[in-house]
Amino acid sequence: MSRRVSPGRIGKKPVNFSFDGRTFQGHAGDTLASALLANDQLLLGRSFKYHRPRGLITLGSEEPNALVTIGSGARQTPNTRATTQELYEGLSASSQNRYPSLKFDLLSVNDRLSRFLTAGFYYKTFMWPRSFWESVYEPLIRRAAGLGKLSEVEDADQYDKGFLHCDCLVIGGGIAGLEAALEAAHQGKAVILCDENPRLGGMELFDSAPIDSVEGLIKELQSLSNVRLMSRTTVQGAFDHGVYSALTQNTDHVAQPHKAAPRQTLWRIYSSEAVLASGAHERMIAFDNNDRPGVMLSSALRGYLNYYGVLAGDTCAVFGCHDDARKTVVDLHAAGAKVIWIDTRSAHEPVDGVQCFTDARVVNTRGRHRLKGIEIEQGGERFWLPCDALGVAGGWNPRVQLTCHQGGRPRWSNDVGGFISGTDLPPGMRVVGAAAGEYLQGNWSPVWDVSKRGSAFVDPQNDVTVKDIKLAHQEGFISVEHLKRYTTLGMATDQGKNANTLGIGVLSQHTGNAIESVGTTLFRPPYTPVAIGALAGRARGKAFKPTRLTPSHEFATRQGASFVTVGNWLRAAYFPQAGETHWRESVDREALAVRNAVGVCDVTTLGKIDVQGRDAAQFLNLVYANGFLKLPVGKTRYGLMLREDGIVFDDGTAARLSENHFVVTTTTANAVPVYRHMEFVHQCLAPNLDVHLISTTESWAQFAVAGPRSRELLQRIVDLELSNEAFGFMACAETRLLDGTPARLFRISFSGELAYELAVPARFGNSLMQTLLEVGADLGATPYGTEALGVLRIEKGHAAGNELDGRTTAVNLGLGQMVAQTKDSIGRVLANRDLLANSTLRLVGFRSDQQILTGSWLIPPGRSSEQDNTLGWVSSACYSPNLGCYIAIGFISDADQYLGAQLRAVSLLDKVDVGVSVVSPHFIDPEGERLRV
């Protein structure tokens, strides 16, 4: 029976909690595991495959068996290690992976079938009948798989991120870490020390010897201003160039956390120097049935006694090959337990009053839900002894995980009897203490497998046994990589901390190959599993990406506009008026208003780039496919920008405000990439040009004022003569509004009507939009959004994002002539590649009485709906209120052949097949007369 025999180092303050619906009492400072142990609850879980009854085997985060679910609903946390979950008042935990209960689990039948369920068995069967894998076998396997369950509700907690800088990062707060931190601090370095436990001190805390020196070190460190001590903080990864990730637990140990407190904090720590003082953890020995509740590591058996005050059994056995076992024997004996010590070595320093067996080994155990007895083999004889707890001391594994994170491979050390770090450490990192193998040498050598029947568990959670390892080897999976993948050894939630070294040792023993030649696998981040929420931090819900608002957002909101997300922007899609119930009503009205009166649209989101310098024109001449050297001052020109591979990148305009000053526009989507590209051309390709660029997209609010009455409207607002003679088509000017506000005016048109774009500094944008509509009320001024903007440009046949899909060329867009052949420009040469230059694919228009769907494909009548029969696709489509029918634009090959013909616009997805006539894409005013009035 296991029970509390002393306050340990945690005290006696009572704390109430429940497990699987039963209430218990523990002490403040307990973990869930130690509290359950104190209450003689050894059965804590069921293994993954065989559903064998399991109890804890470790003291901390390496725990493979005691995985429970804490809480419920939005805070339900599955797969929590009971050995690290700190106890708090009212904690509610439940066991996992069992049905209907922990004691009576139906799937424990798998254990009876274990001989059939060996590693890799599923590759050899489940293939017949063919459909059964997906319909029968797999659903059954998936239902049985997994450990804990996620509630399907949004995680109610928030997580924070932080950034820290220091000169020396000490990883681990045991003696070695504390001493290293102190030394660095005395050298004047800024020191951060992280330890994953709630209390600093490392393994010393779990031994019986006094801990004064440890406490002294801690006190001194606490007094230093250049030292930051971080407990409950696990350093998770060692990334390039001295960047480390660390995770602090803030509230999982608190009964009623403050509702604003983040559950965890993910730190990015920048440190050129790191000291890995992570210690070592003990390992098991493989013997038959080494996995029963009550069988644990010897250091755990001793640690639960010394730190938590819990004695795990009345009769405790200790089985080991290592001196460390003696410490456990001494402590258990002093606590009043009957102790049996089984040592594989032939001699050891005995302990008075304790029954010792040397040259002996434990070869089997019995007791289904709790250890009842062990079978000992000595000198060819085998016999059973009763006991209810067993500690195993199979040697130590230095915690070298972080040394591998940049590809360094650990190496076997015969002295240490474990893997220590290789020579290839992350730059700046050194290893000290038990992590470096110190304190671990001695009069001993590893013992791996003493089982008789191979039912010895090497990876306890995944139920990988010695038998599995042997079978894998027999089947040719001889490398460690293959072994791991075939048997799933080391792939459980403990990330191989319990399984890897033992597995390699077992493989070495059975093949006769030295461990050095067996090799090892690498460890990669994270050191312990990290909540996905912690890695996401505050970028949750609406904060996933920033929301960019246009300058007239406030006005649009007041108008009741419906908004649409365009990249990170929120733009008004349309402005419904009273009585309108369907978006088409609003959009049709807006599109008609622009062509018949005047409309105002916020086009701030389109990229704006200010280009200045003596060589500005020459620079633009290089960046655009068409010519810009001779653009007169006061004029704007359409600019076609190609990628270096000759494909159209973006289009926009460039306005020459003065000899050395241009304003370039881009599409909304390409504002950032075009700016980046222009800086590349300047700094990397033409650094000698005297030109400077700056993005001004957010600095200027810009509005399209479009329609036959746009001149009239603007003349009331802008302090500039706007007659056709004074400010003709494509003119531009720096000017002012009548009220003195600085402004820029461009006579450019996306809609095909007489139109302008008016820009003012962004902070005046909202007010300007308001003013334009008020001042233009008698002219029928109407706000319009992205939907009407889209209808108008499709009616005009202007290419936009849908047409510039990253594969289409100037030739495809009908703009082949725009690519000047007599000057160097980005993309000119590669645009002339054979298949590009000679492509017959062209932008055309489609008309129909029925709705045409964007993404339909064009097929000639009478041909079957197959890819080989397609001519092209529809890239943009809408209802045209100005024409009274449905229209679309898109691309077809051999376009001149099909102009005027009937094709089918087919969408198999929607089961739609619509007859369309192929026409010019410029549906309205193809001669461009309305632009030039």
Partner: protein, 89 residues
């Protein structure tokens, strides 16, 4: 990763956008006889070494300068950083 910006000192690589091989600095002459081949190789062929690699990074969330970074693609160690505009192409 950290990039030692020649003007600003060590910056987290997250502030930058990566483009590719710094051989892009050697843009061919468009008027040469084999311009098509030259541009095709320039745009599409890469040495892609396992070892030291000169590459272009753009400090988009900083000072918007283009840098030529010499970095070991096996170890990620950065051995040199300079402004692209100052490199003799």
């Amino acid at each position: 990763m950290l990039i030692n910006h020649p003007l600003l000192g060590l910056r987290d690589a997250q502030e930058f956008v990566y483009k590719g091989d710094a051989s892009l600095l050697q843009r061919p002459q468009c008027e040469s006889d084999n311009a098509l081949d030259a541009f095709t190789n320039y745009a599409y062929l890469r040495s892609n070494p396992a070892g030291l690699h000169q590459e272009l990074w753009y400090h988009e969330q900083g000072d918007r300068s283009w840098l030529v970074v010499t970095r070991n693609t096996l170890t990620h160690e950065i051995v040199n950083v300079e402004l692209a505009s100052e490199v003799d192409a």
